[in-house]
Symmetry: C2
């Protein structure tokens, strides 16, 4: 199916298990809805400063539930999942690398996002450090030396910050988060609702 119409925004944080699961489902969703999806990594750290929230696993009661639900949801969706030993992690380098690649080749950026997620949530590699991100980027064909230099470039840092600020301005406070024609949907559970919304045109 050709993907026409204005893009559906798909926001995710590289340290988010539900974002990872959504990334595994997003391309099938894109085909089903027949609309292009724009992958947009975010950082939950700056969001939590605004909302006063904390990483799920650090919240009493919710934390235990979440740990159980991460792998249960992955099994339900037939997605490989191994909860990383170090969790959550900072993902600003991953985010900057994504947008730098995306500005040059959006399909390479998707491949990078999937490789980063796989490294973290399947292989248990810590993807926090710039060197780890560069290594993974190299494995999907990105110019490692150019990326390593870009990750030190203030303009690339600023580019990442602008994306996070824009997401927050658009009301994005969680991962995954979808926006269809201005309508926000939070959570991997809402994928069927996103699909219905596109099909019906709202209700």
């Amino acid at each position: 199916m050709s993907a026409g119409g204005s893009p559906v925004d798909f926001y995710f944080e590289f340290s988010s298990p539900y974002g990872y699961i959504a990334s595994q489902l997003a391309e099938d969703l894109e085909k089903r809805i027949g609309r292009p999806m724009q992958w947009r990594p975010i950082l939950l750290g700056p969001v939590f400063k605004i909302t006063g929230q904390a990483p799920l696993v650090e919240i009493p009661m919710k934390g235990e539930y979440s740990r159980r639900d991460f792998s249960r949801s992955a099994r339900l969706h037939k997605v490989a999942y191994a909860h990383p030993e170090k969790f959550p992690i900072g993902t600003v380098a991953a985010l900057r690398a994504f947008y730098w690649v995306n500005d040059r080749d959006p399909s390479a950026a998707r491949a990078l996002a999937k490789a980063l997620y796989k490294a973290y949530f399947v292989e248990g590699k810590d993807i926090g450090a710039p060197q780890a991100v560069v290594e993974i980027a190299k494995s999907v064909g990105v110019d490692a030396a150019a990326l390593a230099a870009a990750l030190e470039d203030p303009a690339v840092k600023e580019r990442g910050k602008r994306e996070v600020d824009a997401a927050i301005a658009a009301g994005v406070f969680g991962s995954p988060f979808f926006v269809v024609d201005g309508e926000p949907f939070w959570g991997v559970d809402r994928i069927p609702m996103v699909e219905d919304w596109v099909r019906i045109g709202g209700w």
Copy 2:
């Protein structure tokens, strides 16, 4: 279908829009899964003291999303919904009334729960005060004088507290919340998952 097997616990807070929506779907769910459901009101106030969370609508960003999503979710599920002017409210009287009625007649307690939810989320009546709860209980055939007296009874207050404590001990931190054979499910979005879990027996 006869409802055999051990009960599925359905926890909800009377001030919770998603709990209300779930209450409108719970009896169809009960029929589909062929297992009896035990309706168990809770109070989110004591839960939030443990989790450090706050009512959804008071959380920056999440609050705006939630207000939009309450009515959107209600429309999706074809459930009447008018966001109450006073929201959220304290529901300890409603909870105590529910358990007092439930100990005498579980089906009358369900009728009371539905009437309380309808008064609050459809008719916009504040159901916080004991008098309001007694009035609504009367409309579904409960002995108003006996209930009014019960709501002042320390044993009835203690009964309510025990239920809330038991829910917290069972890991319940939100509304709606379902527990199937020890397996917890949080949110109205998870009803399909509850159904799959019963059908498959877990995965």
